[in-house]
Symmetry: none
Subunit: 222 residues, 4 copies
Amino acid sequence: MNVNSLVEERFIKDKPGVLLSRRQRDKLLRRSDILRAAEHVFALKGYYEATMQDIAKEAQYATGTVYLYFKDKDALYLSLVEQKYKDLLSILKEETAKAHTAKERLEIFIRENLSFFERNQNSFRIFFTERNKRQTIKVSKLHNLPIVLQHREFVMDLIKSSQDEDLVRDDFPAKQIADMLISILMSVVFNWLRDETKSTKNLSRMSDFVLDMFLNGAGKNK
Amino acid sequence: MNVNSLVEERFIKDKPGVLLSRRQRDKLLRRSDILRAAEHVFALKGYYEATMQDIAKEAQYATGTVYLYFKDKDALYLSLVEQKYKDLLSILKEETAKAHTAKERLEIFIRENLSFFERNQNSFRIFFTERNKRQTIKVSKLHNLPIVLQHREFVMDLIKSSQDEDLVRDDFPAKQIADMLISILMSVVFNWLRDETKSTKNLSRMSDFVLDMFLNGAGKNK
Amino acid sequence: MNVNSLVEERFIKDKPGVLLSRRQRDKLLRRSDILRAAEHVFALKGYYEATMQDIAKEAQYATGTVYLYFKDKDALYLSLVEQKYKDLLSILKEETAKAHTAKERLEIFIRENLSFFERNQNSFRIFFTERNKRQTIKVSKLHNLPIVLQHREFVMDLIKSSQDEDLVRDDFPAKQIADMLISILMSVVFNWLRDETKSTKNLSRMSDFVLDMFLNGAGKNK
Amino acid sequence: MNVNSLVEERFIKDKPGVLLSRRQRDKLLRRSDILRAAEHVFALKGYYEATMQDIAKEAQYATGTVYLYFKDKDALYLSLVEQKYKDLLSILKEETAKAHTAKERLEIFIRENLSFFERNQNSFRIFFTERNKRQTIKVSKLHNLPIVLQHREFVMDLIKSSQDEDLVRDDFPAKQIADMLISILMSVVFNWLRDETKSTKNLSRMSDFVLDMFLNGAGKNK
DNA sequence: CATGAATGAGTGTTCATTCAT
DNA sequence: GATGAATGAACACTCATTCAT
């Protein structure tokens, strides 16, 4: 799975029994070519410095062709973000399903997150930089992407179930705790990305630190 | 204090006994006018969408005038970031100095951070959006701003002293823990900023949650 | 010949038997449109006062289109100069080849020069005015244009062959004499251009004067 | 003489017996300061790249001060050209007056020209580059400067007197011959300026070449 | 459908000139 | 008179988007 995750799975999965015509298949492939190119170029240059021509060139299509698949630069960017979240979410779901206890689920969740960002470090840089034209409009646009909401919700469910299993405190709302977990994760990832010397070679090795901190905090055990 | 923090305090503080000439004072005031305008416009539109004309207009100066005080758009932006960090750092130093124990220092640190971001929510949006032209070049430019480094160092010292006073675990490097504290704070601020309904009216009220989570983690006390 | 000299002949001549594709032909035609417009505008206003918008407008293209054919204003200007020199040189070569004696060659050379400048008086004004941004850099750029060097060399060869045929004195280096010939020509042209009343209607009529002066000098024959 | 030639001699010489008031003298000195600075800056950067601020700075005055002495950039430039011509003309008049024969006068004329340009090579570069904004307007402006007309006339008179003394042929109008003499001179100077290696160390040494060429031409004596 | 040349509004920046002090 | 900060029009160049082929 995820082999060709860039191909909008919605189209494929919605009608699982239906064989796609060559026309449709080609269309999806081209769309995925462009997304791949956009990922590369955005990661390299950031949203504003990346030009549609750059992306078209990288995808080996003509400029106009890109506009057949994406309404405008913004839509292309948003599709890309959505794509990445979708990939991540699908992995998280699949892997956490294998766990039996809340703690295992948390472990897997953290490990898979770190591993995902490690694998996608280039495109991940995108998330840390300029989002979009009018941030006021667009940041909310980003956060309202259905998939992004789904992702937050997934983490919340995870926390909730952990609270149910008495692993996590329930004196604060799951939402708040979920956001904190996400932020600890992001912090680790961000600092790892920033550290160009990559003194911590392996991001995944941080799993234990994250889990420990999340559960026990930085306070000294007395 | 910090009433007119936008005026380069360096100039003022270097010669504390000396009254600035009217010329000098005017110059600083104009500079601060422009910084204030830039803060407003950048916060509203983000770096790329903000134009120098927007900023000049907001400051009620002509376009060219802005260039008398800042070499280019980049320098203006960087000055602004530096300014904000400087303000924050100066508050943090002043307030934490009043504390007697590590725990008090941490409490104050967290409270003052949240309060600062609450007061400066508009400009804080800037930090969450596009940084600069070529992210690869410029983000590093940002992170290497002396004041930014000082800020990180300040937090690290805070953690170290907390480790010394047996408040914080010392089985992880202070740097790692410091970054985590910063990121928990940022996470709370970010989610508060994002929540347009401001269900949590008062950001400062989150102080206790942050301190609790940071010290004790999300794990259920058994 | 030279009917459409503004079209880069290099491209055409390199593959004399090959019909250019419509695409290529169009491209060359557009390029030549722009050069023609640039010639007009530069001649009228000089390098600095001519704006790219002026030129685009004159060529009936959009501003950006000009940049598809020329990297920047500088490149456009240099291409124009090169073009004019190329035209002149090609005429000179073709015509002087018909001569049998050194004197005939000189006569033809002078006549064709004057006639060329007469036909191109507008664009020739360009040469007499500002060259380029930083003269120190750019004038040398101009003088190092391959075609300009070729032109000087052509005149030098002419003088050398005249020395060989005992028409021209050989007690001075050909180079010095060549530069003098060029400058006498330029002087005549310049003064003719300057004379707005055009009392000397026909520049070509000056041929005899130039040849006489060049060979015999202004001294009274005794 | 020429010690302070940059001071508008008109003012001083027009009323030779009158002592200038300190006020007037200061004014003239400031004007000359600015002209000197302008000469330096224009020579270095050319008309367009030189800014009024550059010139003011070089002259150690404020920007606005320059405008008290010269209406605008154009007027400053024109004054400078006028100044230089005036200096040259005054030298030429003074020196040629010492000659007894037409040939001597010619010799002196040529020698003093070359020597003048050698001494003023930096400012002379100005003449060879961009003249002025709208060349159509300004080149004629330049050529209609009273002093420039006087200079041309001076050379014409020189040629006329040479014709009268049977040194120079009279089958062509003096004006034409005068222009040719000027152009031979300019050619030598220009090529010398261009030759950065300065293989011909001493421009004045070219006097004989110029006189020889002018009188006898490049034709081989038979 | 795919192309890529053409478009032209929009940007950062400069600099001659003015004018309040 | 002298100053130099302020002005704002102007310019080269870019790039998202369109559309004729």
